[in-house]
Symmetry: C2
Subunit: 339 residues, 2 copies
């Protein structure tokens, strides 16, 4: 048995896309001593999310930055291998903020429970995890589409966007997805059941929105920012709701972030733009997760993950794939076999 | 008696600030024939509002553009000099969309009633007119400040901004105004009773907001756009409401409008940015006007106008003053004596 805990730490704050030298690879003994309430978890899958890029900046935000020299913060799905917590037993599958490492120690209260009879571990990092709940609260609490309305989502083949469109359909709304490339667009339309997909690499997004949103966009769920946000603003219906969930096009910008030049469309259309992060909904998280799990079990929504392999050392390169748009569905990195 | 109706027409669509050649001066006979329901109004005061600059562009918006060759659209306060309307009598004071001309014919149903025992005609174009009602609905319906919150308004010495701050105080909130120059800042703090004024020409707006909004900005009412909007976004409190009322810094921009680079502050703070125009509130306008008139009569709000003189021919030059920030309070142009 390998008694070493391999870790990926933040070595320097990146300018733009993280370079190999922004990371360090470290080894530590696997922790053996646990305090009361603590749990030792063996990581099986590490979650890779665009928001993690923001955590690497030294900026005031909704969460403190990862310190230089610290293990990179990440959500992990894994298995309990030692426990001094009354409700976490050895062998339990859990999710938690364990970081990019093979073994992590946390207080058991902060772990999420995984029911592997309902869904796989990667799904608990995706549709039943943070991205899925981001879609759930952002669309249902802020976007609030009603039957017959048109919902547009960017990053539609990603972990959040794919759920947004499916939830829009469940509400009786039309779902239009914006994504890059034919494969993603086919996935959105065929596998996820969106009404239409706009390939921003192959066609003008404004024209696509004109074609598919004849009466305007009632809800626009934005994961990307930049020109696509501007195109959607130009097409808002009256009383539209714009949900600001992320801005992946901007996270690695060297220069100052670009704001939406068409924001006065809010004025003309009596429209609203509202931002959020999923942690704002901490007190309603369990109710949401229960409802999502029900829809998944009934086949009303489908989940897909893009599973990279190769252990924690593959994290830096795999992470870049998010910003190159390589993944379809939720991107996770398998770091160990479940044995 | 002068039987000629002098008019100002839009001669060309301006690039940037309107030039003299963008206007034409015309003369027509004063209309003598009225249809049933029509009223002939002699203009006494013409309203000058930043939104009028938008009406001059050939762009899809909340209202059709003024056609080239047409009399410039404007709100006017005047006196009925002939009437075929059952409820409008000769001698009545009224407001209406009569355009920049000395005499206008309109259907009497579209006129607003003026009670000169309550307030002057210019006040009916300002605090009791479109700008006052813009402040009323924008702040109370969208901004919704509650006791103890901090409200910041830009263009605070203007027709809308000055009312916003006073209404914020009436709600028990703190009112911070942003304006250009010591005279305007003194007016805001002394005459209008704001808690503080930030002079954007003399100090850094971000520093001013840090100083006066220790716990952040709960409601930001924006009339200007550009860098000041960005500074306010950077200082939002959690669950802040940003009201997008106008963007006077951008109306004459030759290049593409600049969007708010700090819009992701909405995400971090679970904040909302909502736009509107006062005509969205047509069905509640009379109730609002009645409440505002009551507050004015009780001395709970004060009204001030900046009255230019010299007749309709002074309109083009007076209009430029709005964008140079020359006016304090509501800018109107007196076009005739009331005789």
């Amino acid at each position: 048995m390998d008694a070493v805990n391999h870790q990926i730490r933040l070595a320097a704050r990146p300018d733009g896309l993280p370079k190999p030298s922004d990371w360090s690879h470290t080894e530590e003994p696997i922790p053996e001593e646990l305090d009361e309430g603590q749990v030792l978890v063996k990581a099986l899958y590490v979650s890779l999310d665009p928001a993690m890029r923001g955590w690497m900046n030294d900026a005031r935000s909704y969460i403190a930055p990862v310190g230089v020299g610290e293990v990179m913060r990440a959500l992990v799905a894994g298995r309990v291998v030692a426990s001094k917590h009354p409700r976490r037993a050895v062998g339990d599958y859990v999710t938690g903020m364990l970081g990019v490492q093979e073994y992590g120690v946390v207080n058991g209260d902060g772990l999420g429970k995984v029911d592997t009879s309902l869904a796989s571990l990667p799904t608990y990092l995706g549709t039943l995890g943070m991205p899925g709940m981001t879609a759930y609260f952002g669309l249902l609490d802020i976007g609030r589409p009603v039957e017959g309305e048109t919902v547009v989502v960017s990053g539609a083949a990603g972990a959040v966007g794919g759920v947004v469109g499916q939830l829009a359909k469940l509400q009786g709304a039309r779902a239009i997805g914006i994504a890059g490339g034919a494969e993603k667009c086919e996935y959105i339309a065929q596998e996820l059941g969106f009404d239409a997909a706009i390939d921003y690499k192959a066609q003008d997004v404004r024209e696509g929105l004109r074609e598919h949103c004849r009466k305007g966009v009632d809800v626009y769920f934005d994961n990307v920012g930049g020109e696509i946000l501007d195109a959607a603003l130009a097409r808002l219906a009256r009383h539209a709701r714009v949900v600001i969930c992320g801005a992946i096009s901007q996270y690695n910008a060297d220069e100052q972030l670009v704001g939406p030049a068409n924001y006065l469309s809010l004025l003309v259309n009596h429209a609203t733009m509202t931002g959020f992060v999923v942690s704002d909904y901490g007190d309603r998280y369990l109710d949401g997760a229960r409802e999502m799990a029900g829809w998944l079990a009934e086949g009303k929504i489908v989940a897909r993950e893009d599973v990279a392999t190769g252990g924690v050392e593959r994290f830096p390169e795999t992470f870049l794939g998010l910003f190159e748009g390589r993944n379809i569905g939720k991107l996770v990195l398998q770091v160990a076999q479940d044995e």
